[in-house]
Symmetry: C2
Subunit: 378 residues, 2 copies
């Protein structure tokens, strides 16, 4: 079995910037290549969702490869909504594992600010099935996850304050993360009383609009944090076809795929980054990833089981909610936080972290990737 490991990483500050997508992504890529010790790169995989609509730029694979001076190596952009970064990483990993390439640069990025809200909202909705009555009716992502949250509270007895607890935890973690978009301390009261976005979700329950880029270099061998397994699954992009809105089959199936390949159980995971596009999504994800029983995620949050000292610390980077959510960059930034944790120099370091997991969701459950990592030499 060929080992593949993460040997370099680079990430920009997440937030609002005047930089272009090209300059953001170049910054992250250069940092990753230098961090990896400037190896010969055999291919470039780019995760990006909507630069065509938001940043007037496709062909990011070629643009970055050329500007970085990497020569004529194969390059490509990969799109899978908010899971674009996770899918790009997966493909690069699969092709290194198979021996097709030895060293690959994987970069993710998105430029979302400085554009009028209507254009951004329309671009985000490209991750719905728009050739459907749902697309025509104007269903949005906060709308979908708001329905999910209401149903969850009705079925399992959770309350709005449990959503707020997730947002507060992630904000507290973000305070220590130098690249996070929101680093100002807050309180449960401020979160509960914030401007409503879609009932029951308030401003702090929703991930923000963010610019940012992240990149990693992966390589055959055991020089860095080892990639133990990759899982990916698709799910329906249509709300009307969801069998049970409280389940996210793509999340569950991508996780089961990865656990099986890695030969581990959820109990073996020491630290997790997961896709908290909304506070509610984090609660469903900790259930679907097998850390807590279905319907008990809110209880785990109430009992601090997703913090340091609990069952498993979740989103120690601040998560999408407070670190920010530059769509194409998100999946790679999650992996960087896990790599930092397993290298023992993360913000909000988890003691003795040996196994880490990163989960990246696309759309309302249209895609999910799960990657499992192991500390070097562990």
């Amino acid at each position: 079995m060929t080992s593949v490991s993460v040997i370099g990483k680079g990430i920009t500050k997440f937030g609002k910037t005047n930089q272009t997508i090209k300059s953001l992504m170049l910054a992250a890529c250069r940092e990753a290549i230098v961090d990896a010790g400037r190896p010969k790169v055999d291919a470039v995989f780019v995760g990006n969702f909507a630069a065509g609509s938001l940043a007037n730029q496709e062909i990011l694979g070629s643009v970055l490869t050329n500007e970085l001076g990497l020569g004529n190596v194969p390059s490509v952009k990969v799109e899978g909504a908010c899971a674009s970064g996770g899918i790009a990483f997966r493909q690069a990993y699969q092709l290194v594992k198979s021996g097709e390439y030895e060293t690959v640069l994987v970069a993710g990025g998105e430029k979302m600010t400085g554009i009028d809200t209507k254009t951004v909202t329309k671009a985000i909705n490209l991750a719905m099935d728009n050739d459907s009555n749902e697309g025509a009716s104007g269903l949005t992502f906060p709308g979908f996850f708001g329905v999910l949250a209401n149903r969850y509270m009705y079925e399992y007895g959770a309350e709005k304050r449990h959503l707020a607890m997730v947002a507060l935890k992630n904000r507290k973690y973000a305070v220590s993360n130098p690249i996070a978009q929101f680093r100002k301390n807050t309180s449960i009261e401020e979160i509960m009383e914030a401007r409503p976005i879609t009932d029951p979700l308030g401003l702090f329950d929703c991930s923000p609009i963010t610019d940012g880029a992240a990149a990693v270099v992966i390589q055959k061998g055991s020089l860095g944090v080892e990639i133990l397994a990759s899982g990916q699954a698709s799910g329906t992009p249509l709300m009307q076809e969801v069998e049970n809105i409280l389940h996210m089959p793509a999340t569950r199936e991508s996780a089961n795929d990865a656990y099986k390949k890695a030969g581990i159980e959820p109990e073996d995971v020491d630290v997790v980054e997961l896709h908290d596009c909304f506070s509610m999504t984090e609660i469903v994800a900790i259930e679907e990833l097998g850390f807590f029983e279905k319907g008990k995620g809110w209880k785990a949050v109430e009992e601090d089981l997703t913090k340091h000292g609990g069952t498993v610390p979740v989103n120690t980077s601040g998560g999408l909610l407070s670190k920010g959510h530059p769509i194409g960059a998100t999946g790679i930034s999650q992996i960087i936080q896990i790599v930092d944790q397993l290298n023992n120099h993360a913000c909000n370091q988890v003691d003795n972290a040996r196994i880490g997991l990163a989960q990246n969701l696309g759309g309302t459950g249209a895609y999910s990737t799960v990657h499992i990592f192991k500390k070097k030499g562990a």
Copy 2:
């Protein structure tokens, strides 16, 4: 060495249609799956350039996978400008060859008509590096290839009529292709006198705006036409960085990579589909692919060496110029024509075709893929 072969194909009529990108692509996918004998599909790769900008739809991987009822299998959209289809095919092939998947559906599509010309032109220009003075100055694709054509004529003594001969050949082939966009016979005079687009290129020298979709099913084993090799290279997306505008390094390097892996020489190729986005591009490509010496491609065209009975018949489908160029579909449609040739039931069938080659270009040389195929049992 694992064999991988093309076991099913589906393609829509190319041209103007009122269908959505989803319905076009579903039609091609369903035809391919039925043609393949309805195998269990393990993953879906979609090649598409700009559906976000042109068709209000991203997440085509998930949309198609769900609508086709393929379950929770991994899916993704791959973008590499006009080479999106070729790159999607390559990735699927690499992952079947490596044993990651056994059977994969690869679909390409684009919906380009019914939209105002300004929007379409802007979308096509997403395949330039727009964070550059070239992007700002408004360089277009006809502009780039017009400069190339003028320089080629100046250096090598070719004339406008040699460009017209390429366009005429491809139109004559398209007349016999039931899915081609333009099937009306024409003459060298009509082509020479057609409306100028950018000097020296006239209307018939430029590929059209087209809707269409194409799909193939590939599988481990030797059930169908065998995929012998895949080559891919990147090149600069900036005109100012092109060392010699008469060379297309990405085309040459992707071809050399593929020849080497297949263990063949250009002389072994019996039939070719290549990326004639402009008539001029075909002449450069037959040189870069090694069929004719640099600067002699126009002579080969004059001497009918790219037709039946010549050195190697090129673009027997009608090519992008007359079959049409629905961007994401193009790379897959080229492969379908080669597969049909090697299965001995193509339009404009080449007698005893045993080895075929398909070359797909992205941008002004930003990407190129080359795939080499072998007749079943040959």
